[in-house]
C-alpha cells in the first residue's frame, strides 16, 4: 500500500503520528516524515491517519 503525503499541505500537526506510528513520525526538527510503502496489516491505522489529518494531506494509493 502506497502512502502519499502532500507536503505542500502538511503543517506538522502530527495526528497521523498518533494514529499510525509505524508509518508516520516526527523528525528531530518536529517535521513530519513517513514511510512511502506501508504493510497491508497497517491499513486500518493508515486509514485512521487519513481521517485525522486536519489538512486532508494524506492519501492511500493501492
Amino acid at each position: 500500500m502506497k502512502v502519499v503525503v502532500d507536503m505542500n499541505k502538511c503543517q506538522d500537526h502530527g495526528q497521523c503520528v498518533f494514529a499510525a506510528p509505524d508509518v508516520f513520525h516526527f523528525d528531530s526538527e518536529g517535521r513530519l516524515a513517513h514511510l512511502p510503502e506501508a504493510a497491508e496489516a497497517s491499513r486500518e491505522e493508515v486509514e485512521e491517519a487519513v481521517d485525522v489529518c486536519p489538512l486532508q494531506a494524506i492519501r492511500i494509493e493501492d
Binding site: 503543517q11 506538522d12 500537526h13 502530527g14 495526528q15 503520528v17 498518533f18 516526527f26 526538527e29 518536529g30 517535521r31 486509514e47 481521517d51 485525522v52 486536519p54 486532508q56 492519501r59
Partner: protein, 412 residues
C-alpha cells in the same frame, strides 16, 4: 436486521458516521440528510485560508472513503422533526423517512448577539457561505473590523483580517483576557501580548450593547458608552445546538443531545449522537457529560457510535468499553500555533510552565501543563513546530493518567 440508517446532518460528523458504519460491518442502506448544498467539507480553514483567499472548495471537500459510494445523499434538505417511537424523521419537504437506526449529527449554529441595531454588515463564520461573504467584506480597502468574542474563532478571524489589510481590527470580549476560559490566564496573557504586538486592538472586560447605523452597521456601542467605528462586525460568541427537530421525544436537549457512555440518546439503542451536538460523558475523566467542539470529536464519536449502532442493528452486544477520547485541539493565529492535548479546563487550578519562560522572550515558545492533584490532565503549546512536537511528547503520559474520581462542575 434490515432497514435504513438515517444520518441527520451531512458535515464531517455525518460523513465519518457513514464511513464508520461501513467499517463496523453495516451493509444496509444509509441516507445522509444535510441542509447545506455542499458535500461535507473541512471547516477550520474557513476562519483562515478561506478568508484569506488561499483555499478553494475543492481543497476543503473531504474525499469520502470508497466504502460509502452507495450511500444516498439528500443535500439542501433539512430535518425538521422526528418521532423516535415510530422511528421516522421528517424532512422540510414534508417527506417522512423511516429508519432502523438514527445518527444525530446536526451540529451547531452560531449564536447571534441580541443587541438592537442594523443586521447588514454583521457576520458569523460557520459555513462556507458565511466565510465567502465575510471575505468579500474584508477585502474592501481600509475596512474597520470589530470582532465580538475573543475565543479561538474570533482571534483567528482577527489575525486573518489584519493580514488581509484591514485598517483596524478590534476584538471585544466581556472576559479580561482572550481565550482565558479554555487556556487559563498564563497563556491568555501571552496571547494577548502577541496579538497586540501584531496590531490587533482589544476592548476587554466589556460588551457590545448596540449596533450603530441605518441600513448597515457603521459602529458598535460598548457597555461604557464608547463607540467603535466598524464597517464589518464578526460575531463569534458561541453556538447553539441544532436539536429543535428532536423536541417532543423525551430527550434531554439541554445544550446538545445528552448521551450515555456509548453515545446513545435517551436510553434508546437505535439513536446515537455524534460530533459537537453530542453531550457525552468521557470515561477518561470524571463522568460529567460535556459537549466538545474540537475538530477531532466528529471522527472519534463517529467511530464509537457507529460500532455501537451496528452492533444493535445486527443483534450483537456492545463490542467495546465506554467512550473515552483524548481531546485535542489546535488554533493557528498570525504566525503561531496553539496545540492542546487532554483537558486543560479540568486542571485550571494548577497551571505550570513545562518549558519556556513567559517573563522572558515575549515571542518564545511556551509549553504549559494543567494538573489536577498529582495528575497531568492537559498540555498546551504556544509557538512553532518544535513547541507542538514538545506537547506531543506528553500525549502518552496524558493517555496513561487514571480517570478522575471526583466530578467537577461544568466549565463552559
Amino acid at each position: 436486521m434490515s432497514g435504513t440508517v438515517v444520518v441527520a446532518g451531512a458535515s464531517m460528523a455525518g460523513l465519518r458516521a457513514a464511513e464508520q458504519l461501513r467499517a463496523a460491518g453495516w451493509h444496509g442502506p444509509v441516507v445522509l440528510v444535510g441542509d447545506e448544498p455542499h458535500m461535507p467539507y473541512n471547516r477550520p480553514p474557513l476562519s483562515k485560508e478561506v478568508l484569506a483567499g488561499k483555499a478553494s472548495f475543492a481543497s476543503l471537500a473531504f474525499r469520502p472513503r470508497a466504502s460509502v459510494s452507495d450511500v444516498r445523499w439528500r443535500l439542501g434538505t433539512r430535518v425538521v422533526g422526528a418521532d423516535l417511537d415510530r422511528r421516522t424523521v421528517q424532512l422540510d419537504s414534508g417527506e417522512q423517512l423511516p429508519y432502523a437506526g438514527l445518527v444525530v449529527a446536526t451540529g451547531m449554529r452560531p449564536r447571534r448577539l441580541p443587541c438592537p441595531g442594523p443586521v447588514q454588515g454583521r457576520h458569523t463564520v460557520r459555513t462556507l457561505a458565511d466565510a465567502r461573504r465575510l471575505r468579500e467584506a474584508l477585502t474592501r480597502p481600509g475596512a474597520r473590523v470589530v470582532v465580538v468574542g475573543a475565543g479561538f474563532i474570533g482571534c483567528e478571524v482577527a489575525s486573518t483580517a489584519l493580514a488581509l489589510g484591514a485598517d483596524r481590527v478590534t476584538v471585544v470580549d466581556p472576559q479580561p483576557l482572550p481565550m482565558v476560559g479554555p487556556l487559563g490566564a498564563l497563556l491568555a496573557e501571552a496571547l494577548l501580548d502577541r496579538h497586540r504586538r501584531r496590531g490587533v486592538q482589544f476592548a476587554l472586560g466589556t460588551q457590545v450593547t448596540a449596533f450603530q447605523g441605518d441600513d448597515r452597521v457603521s459602529g458598535v456601542v460598548l457597555a461604557d458608552g464608547t463607540a467603535l467605528a466598524a464597517d464589518v462586525v464578526v460575531e463569534s460568541v458561541g453556538s447553539l445546538a441544532n436539536t429543535e427537530w428532536l423536541e417532543g421525544n423525551g430527550l434531554d436537549l439541554t445544550n446538545g443531545v445528552l448521551t450515555d457512555e456509548h453515545l446513545r440518546a435517551g436510553g434508546r439503542p437505535d439513536v446515537v449522537a455524534v460530533g459537537d451536538v453530542a453531550r457525552f460523558p468521557n470515561a477518561r475523566y470524571d463522568g460529567v457529560a460535556r459537549r466538545v467542539e474540537h475538530w477531532s470529536i466528529p471522527t472519534d464519536t463517529a467511530k464509537h457510535a457507529a460500532r455501537v449502532l451496528t452492533a444493535h442493528l445486527t443483534g450483537t452486544g456492545v463490542p467495546l468499553g465506554p467512550f473515552a477520547p483524548l481531546p485535542t485541539f489546535w488554533s493557528d493565529q498570525h504566525d503561531f500555533r496553539l496545540q492542546s492535548f487532554g483537558a486543560p479546563v479540568l486542571g485550571m487550578d494548577d497551571v505550570r510552565v513545562l518549558d519556556g519562560d513567559p517573563a522572558g522572550d515575549p515571542e518564545g515558545d511556551l509549553l504549559v501543563g494543567y494538573h489536577r492533584g498529582e495528575h497531568l490532565v492537559g498540555v498546551v503549546a504556544l509557538g512553532g513546530r518544535r513547541a507542538v512536537a514538545a506537547a506531543a511528547r506528553y500525549r502518552a503520559e496524558l493517555l496513561e493518567q487514571p480517570a478522575l474520581a471526583v466530578p467537577l462542575e461544568e466549565h463552559k
